[in-house]
C-alpha cells in the first residue's frame, strides 16, 4: 500500500533517499550520511544519551535552511537544530528517524553597530566572538555562560542561557533585540524589534528558551552594553555553607546587587584550586566570589559595604583581588569548575536546578543525605545570587549500574528543588534529560497548554520532537514509578 511505503523503507533505504534528496537542496559536501561522518553529531554535552540521525545537513544560507525545512515538512521528517552541541540536557540529541540541521556554517558577524549599541550575527557565531569584536569599541555582550568560547548564540537563544554575571545584567532574553527565524514550513520572519518592544504578542520572549521546538533561528541581533570601567572581586571564605548562604542574603538586604555572586563548596574549591591554582582557601567549607562593577566611585563605595557584610556574617577570610590578572584568575577557577571536577572523578554529571535562596541550607543538607544514600559524592557550584544550583555528581561510568544510580540521584535532587518552590532547570534546559521531572513541576492543564503552544507553531510536531515538554502518557508512566505523598501524579490518566 502506498501509505505504508514510507514506513516500509529500511533505515538504510531512508538514509539513502533523504541524503540524495537533501543533496539537491544544498551544495556538495553539506550532507553527511556515513556512520563515520555522523558520529560527532550523536550527542551534545550530555553524552550519556547518544543517537545517530539519518543524516546531517549543514546549510550555509537562509534560503538553504528554508529549502530543507520545506522538504522536511512535505516529507514529515523530524528536524533537530544544532549549534555547537555544548548543551547539557540533550536538547540537540538527534532524532533516530530525522535529520540534524547543523548551523555551524552560519558563523559570520554581519554588522557591528557601536554607535547604536547592537551586533547582528549569524546563529553559529560563538558567544565570546561577539564580545571580542565589540570590546575595542568599549562594548560587550553581557550573558557569559562558562561555555562561551564554544557555545553559539543560536544555542544561547534556544536555551535562554545565563552566566555568572546575569544577576545584574540578565539572561539571554534580556539581551537579545530581535531574531530572524525559519518556521517549520520554511517561511522566514523577523521577531522582536530594534526599539524596546514590538507590536502584538511578545514572540521574542516565547522563542527564547524554546529549545529549538518552535522555529530555527537564522540571525540574531543582540544588545551591546558599555564595558563597566571598573570591576573588583571580593573573595570570602566561610566555615559552613549555610553561613555563606546567609551572607548572600545579607548582601542583597543591604541593597546591593553585585555583578556576580558565586558560591563553591569544599569539594569544588579543592578541585578548582588543584586545576587552576588560583589561590582559593582549600581549608574553607565554602567560598563566595562577589564581583562589583561600575564607575570607580560606585565600586569604591560598595566594596567596603560588602566587606563589612561578609565580616558581620562571620567570614573566616576576606580577600580583594589586587590586580586585574588576579581577578581573572579567581574567575578562571570558578569558570573551570566543571573540567576541574572532571579531573578528580572519571565522570561527572551536572545538575541544574533553581531554588529560593532561603532554602539553601535545607537543600544542601538533604543533598548530603542523598549523597550518602546513593553512595556518590557531590561537589557544588552555585550561582548563589539567583539561586541556581549546579551540583556535580561524581561517578564512574565503567562501574556497573553507577550511571543509572547517578541519574536517579540527579532526578531526586531536581524533585527536591521543585518541592522547596524552585524549578528543575535554571539555565541548561529540559531537553531529554529532565523530561520526567517536568511532570512533577507542572500539572496536566499546564502541560496541555505547553503542547498547544507548540502546535501553534509546529502542528505536526517535526521540530525537535520528544524534547522539553513530556507527553501526558510519559508522565503517567513516570508517576507510576514515583509516588509522591502517597498520591501518584496525573491520577486522571489511565496507567499503562
Amino acid at each position: 500500500m502506498v501509505a505504508d511505503a514510507k514506513t516500509a523503507l529500511s533505515r538504510a533505504d531512508k538514509r539513502a533517499l533523504y541524503s540524495s534528496e537533501l543533496s539537491a537542496l544544498v551544495p556538495k559536501g553539506q550532507v553527511l550520511h556515513t556512520d563515520e561522518d555522523l558520529r560527532p553529531y550523536e550527542s551534545d554535552g550530555l553524552t550519556v544519551f547518544k543517537r545517530a540521525p539519518l543524516s546531517v545537513v549543514l546549510p550555509a544560507t537562509i534560503e538553504e535552511v528554508q529549502a530543507v525545512m520545506r522538504w522536511a515538512s512535505s516529507r514529515q521528517v523530524p528536524v533537530v537544530a544544532r549549534g555547537a552541541g555544548t548543551g547539557l540536557s540533550g536538547g540537540a540529541l538527534p532524532h533516530e528517524d530525522g535529520i540534524l540541521l547543523g548551523l555551524a556554517k552560519f558563523n559570520k558577524i554581519l554588522e557591528l553597530n557601536a554607535e547604536h549599541g547592537y551586533a547582528r550575527v549569524q546563529p553559529g557565531v560563538t558567544n565570546l566572538a561577539i564580545s571580542n569584536v565589540a570590546r575595542p569599541h568599549g562594548l560587550y555582550y553581557a550573558p557569559d555562560p562558562s561555555s562561551q568560547i564554544a557555545c553559539t548564540i543560536g544555542g544561547n537563544v534556544a536555551e535562554n542561557s545565563g552566566g555568572v554575571h546575569c544577576l545584574k545584567y540578565g539572561l539571554t532574553v534580556h539581551n537579545v533585540l530581535s531574531i530572524d527565524v525559519v518556521t517549520v514550513d520554511g517561511e522566514l520572519l523577523t521577531i522582536g524589534a530594534m526599539g524596546c518592544d514590538d507590536a502584538g504578542y511578545d514572540l521574542m520572549a516565547l522563542l527564547t528558551g524554546s529549545e529549538g521546538m518552535l522555529a530555527v533561528t537564522v540571525e540574531v541581533t543582540v544588545k551591546l552594553l558599555p564595558v563597566p570601567p571598573v570591576a573588583k572581586l571580593v573573595m570570602a571564605a566561610f566555615n559552613s555553607v549555610s553561613a555563606a548562604g546567609d551572607a548572600v542574603g545579607s548582601v542583597i538586604a543591604e541593597g546591593i546587587i553585585p555583578a556576580g555572586l558565586e558560591l563553591m563548596d569544599s569539594p569544588a574549591i579543592v578541585a578548582a584550586e588543584d586545576f587552576a591554582g588560583c589561590g582559593y582557601p582549600t581549608d574553607a567549607a565554602a567560598v563566595l566570589l562577589c564581583e562589583l562593577d561600575g564607575t570607580e566611585a560606585e565600586v569604591n563605595a560598595q566594596i567596603g559595604r560588602v566587606s563589612d557584610v561578609f565580616n558581620r556574617c562571620h567570614a573566616t577570610a576576606l580577600h580583594i583581588a589586587e590586580t586585574e590578572d588576579e581577578r581573572l584568575l579567581l574567575w578562571k577557577g570558578r569558570k573551570s569548575a566543571f573540567p576541574a571536577v572532571g579531573r578528580i572523578s572519571p565522570d561527572y554529571y551536572c545538575i541544574d536546578g533553581t531554588i529560593p535562596r532561603r532554602e539553601l541550607s535545607t537543600v544542601l543538607s538533604r543533598m548530603d543525605e542523598l549523597s550518602k544514600e546513593f553512595g556518590l559524592r557531590i561537589a557544588n557550584v552555585f550561582h548563589a545570587g539567583d539561586g541556581n544550583l549546579h551540583p556535580l555528581i561524581l561517578y564512574d561510568a565503567s562501574v556497573d549500574g553507577e550511571t543509572e544510580r547517578t541519574e536517579r540521584l540527579g532526578s531526586e535532587i531536581l524533585q527536591l528543588c521543585v518541592k522547596v518552590g524552585g524549578t528543575v532547570t535554571g539555565e541548561h534546559g529540559v531537553g531529554v534529560e529532565k523530561i520526567n521531572e517536568m511532570c512533577v513541576q507542572f500539572d496536566t492543564d499546564t502541560l496541555n497548554q505547553f503542547h498547544a503552544v507548540k502546535a501553534a507553531f509546529d502542528p505536526a510536531g517535526l521540530l525537535n520532537p520528544g524534547k522539553a515538554i513530556p507527553t501526558l502518557q510519559r508522565c503517567a508512566e513516570f508517576g507510576a514509578m514515583h509516588v509522591h505523598n502517597g498520591q501518584c501524579s496525573h491520577p486522571e490518566l489511565e496507567r499503562f
Binding site: 557601536a114 554607535e115 547604536h116 549599541g117 562594548l139 535562554n160 546575569c166 540578565g170 539572561l171 532574553v173 520572519l189 521577531i191 524589534a193 530594534m194 526599539g195 524596546c196 518592544d197 502584538g200 504578542y201 511578545d202 514572540l203 516565547l206 528558551g209 524554546s210 518552535l214 558599555p226 542583597i252 538586604a253 546587587i257 561600575g294 564607575t295 570607580e296 566611585a297 560606585e298 563605595a301 560598595q302 533553581t354 529560593p356 535562596r357 532561603r358 539561586g387 541556581n388 524549578t423 528543575v424 532547570t425 535554571g426 539555565e427 541548561h428 529540559v430 517536568m438 513541576q441 499546564t446 496541555n448 497548554q449 498547544a452 503552544v453 501553534a456 507553531f457 522539553a468 515538554i469
Partner: protein
C-alpha cells in the same frame, strides 16, 4: 486585607466558556481608554479581578514578590518601599491601577531602557485560560527555563491569552540617591541621549521635552555625584518631569489632540507626521532616550501606523478611540498567522477581551 477569589473566578470563566460567551476582563478600570472598542456594543459580560487581591509572598532578600492580579498597584509599590525595594520598571500609577492591568497592558515607565521592562521582570503567572483551565507558568525564582516562557508572553497581551490570577515579579532595591539634570536649549534630536546610552553611567531616565532635556541618575551616592559632575547641566530641585511623563499627566498631555505612543529605535529620526488640517504640527515628547515617543496629533490611525513602520517601530493609540477604530499597529503576514494560532492555543473561541487588542487576530 487580602482575598483569594480564584475559585469563584474559575467558575465564572468556565460558565462563559461553556456558553461560548465572550467577556471583558476588568481590574481597576484605570486603562479602559486603551485598546479597541468593538463597533457593536451590547453590554459585555464582565470578569472582574478586583476582588482577587493581596500580596501572597514577599521575601525581600529573594528579590521576588507574588501578588494577586487585583492588588492595587499602589499597595504593591508601598509594600516594596517599606522594605527599601521597588518595581524596577516603574509603571504608570494611574488612579485605581491594579497589578494585573499593569502586567496585561505591559506598561513601563521612564526607567525602562535602563532597568528593563515589565516583561523583563516577569517570573511567573497563574492564569485562567480561555479554555477555562487553571494553569501556572514559570515560578518564583529568577532563573527558570522549564517549559515555554509563557509568563513573559502574558505581559502586554491585553488579557487575550487568559485571565491573570497571580503574578510573580523580580524586584530590586531602591537607589540610595537620585539626581535630575536639566539641559536647556537642547537640540531637537535624540543624538545626545543615544550617545549617553553607550557610556557606563547610572542613568535611569532620559527625556526631551520641548527644548529641555532631562537626565536622571540613580544609584550609590558617590556614583551619582561623580556622574553628575561629569555630565554637567543644571541639577533640578524638585523630582523633575518623571512622574508626569510616567503617568501621562505632564503639561504636554494637556494638548486636547489624541495621544499616540510610538515605540521606535532610539536613534530613529523625527517621525514623518503631517500637520493637522489647521496647520498645527504634531507635538512630540521623547521618553526612553528617544525609544518611546509620545505624540499629539489629529493624524489618522493609518498615517500613524505608516509613520511608525517608516521608523522601524510601531504605534499605539493612547486616547480613547472611536468605536471600531484600530488602536494597535496591525500585524500581517506569517507573524499574523502565528500570533493568531498562539491566541487560539490559549483561547480557541476568542472569548477573552475579544476585539480589544489586535482585532485582526480574532477572526
Amino acid at each position: 486585607m487580602t482575598n483569594d477569589a480564584s475559585a469563584a473566578l474559575l467558575e465564572t470563566v468556565q460558565q462563559y466558556v461553556a456558553g461560548a460567551n465572550p467577556f471583558v476582563i476588568v481590574g481597576g478600570g484605570s486603562k479602559s481608554f486603551l485598546g479597541c472598542r468593538p463597533a457593536v456594543s451590547e453590554p459585555p459580560a464582565v470578569v472582574s479581578v478586583a476582588e482577587h487581591h493581596g500580596v501572597i509572598n514577599y521575601e525581600p532578600t529573594e528579590l521576588v514578590m507574588t501578588a494577586r492580579s487585583g492588588t492595587p498597584l499602589s499597595t504593591v509599590i508601598s509594600t516594596l518601599h517599606e522594605h527599601g525595594q521597588q518595581l524596577p520598571f516603574d509603571p504608570p500609577q494611574l488612579p485605581n491601577a491594579t497589578l494585573g492591568g499593569t502586567v496585561a497592558c505591559g506598561l513601563s515607565g521612564p526607567t525602562r531602557p535602563y532597568a528593563g521592562s515589565v516583561r523583563d521582570h516577569a517570573l511567573g503567572v497563574r492564569i485562567i485560560s480561555g479554555k477555562g483551565e487553571d494553569c501556572s507558568f514559570g515560578g518564583e525564582v529568577m532563573k527558570n527555563v522549564a517549559g515555554y516562557d509563557v509568563s513573559r508572553v502574558q505581559v502586554g497581551a491585553f488579557g487575550t491569552l487568559g485571565v491573570l490570577l497571580d503574578i510573580s515579579l523580580k524586584v530590586l532595591p531602591l537607589p540610595e540617591s537620585t539626581v535630575t539634570l536639566m539641559f536647556e536649549q537642547a537640540a531637537h534630536d535624540t543624538v545626545p541621549m543615544v550617545q549617553l546610552a553607550r557610556q557606563y553611567l547610572p542613568v535611569t531616565g532620559a527625556v526631551l521635552i520641548g527644548e529641555q532635556r532631562f537626565i536622571r541618575l540613580a544609584g550609590s551616592e558617590a556614583g551619582v555625584k561623580a556622574a553628575a559632575a561629569q555630565l554637567g547641566g543644571e541639577s533640578v530641585n524638585d523630582d523633575g518631569p518623571w512622574t508626569g511623563v510616567r503617568d501621562l499627566s505632564h503639561a504636554f498631555f494637556d494638548d486636547i489632540r489624541p495621544t499616540w505612543r510610538f515605540s521606535v529605535p532610539d536613534y530613529a529620526s523625527t517621525l514623518e507626521l503631517p500637520n493637522d488640517d489647521d496647520g498645527t504640527p504634531a507635538a512630540t515628547l521623547y521618553d526612553w532616550g528617544g525609544a518611546q515617543r509620545w505624540v499629539k496629533t489629529n493624524a489618522s490611525a493609518e498615517v500613524c501606523f505608516a509613520a511608525a513602520a517608516g521608523a522601524k517601530g510601531h504605534a499605539t493609540r493612547f486616547s480613547e478611540a472611536p468605536a471600531g477604530a484600530p488602536t494597535h499597529q496591525p500585524i500581517n503576514g506569517v507573524s499574523a498567522r502565528l500570533q493568531s494560532e498562539l491566541r487560539a492555543s490559549f483561547d480557541p473561541h476568542r472569548l477573552c477581551n475579544r476585539g480589544r487588542f489586535h482585532p485582526e487576530l480574532d477572526s
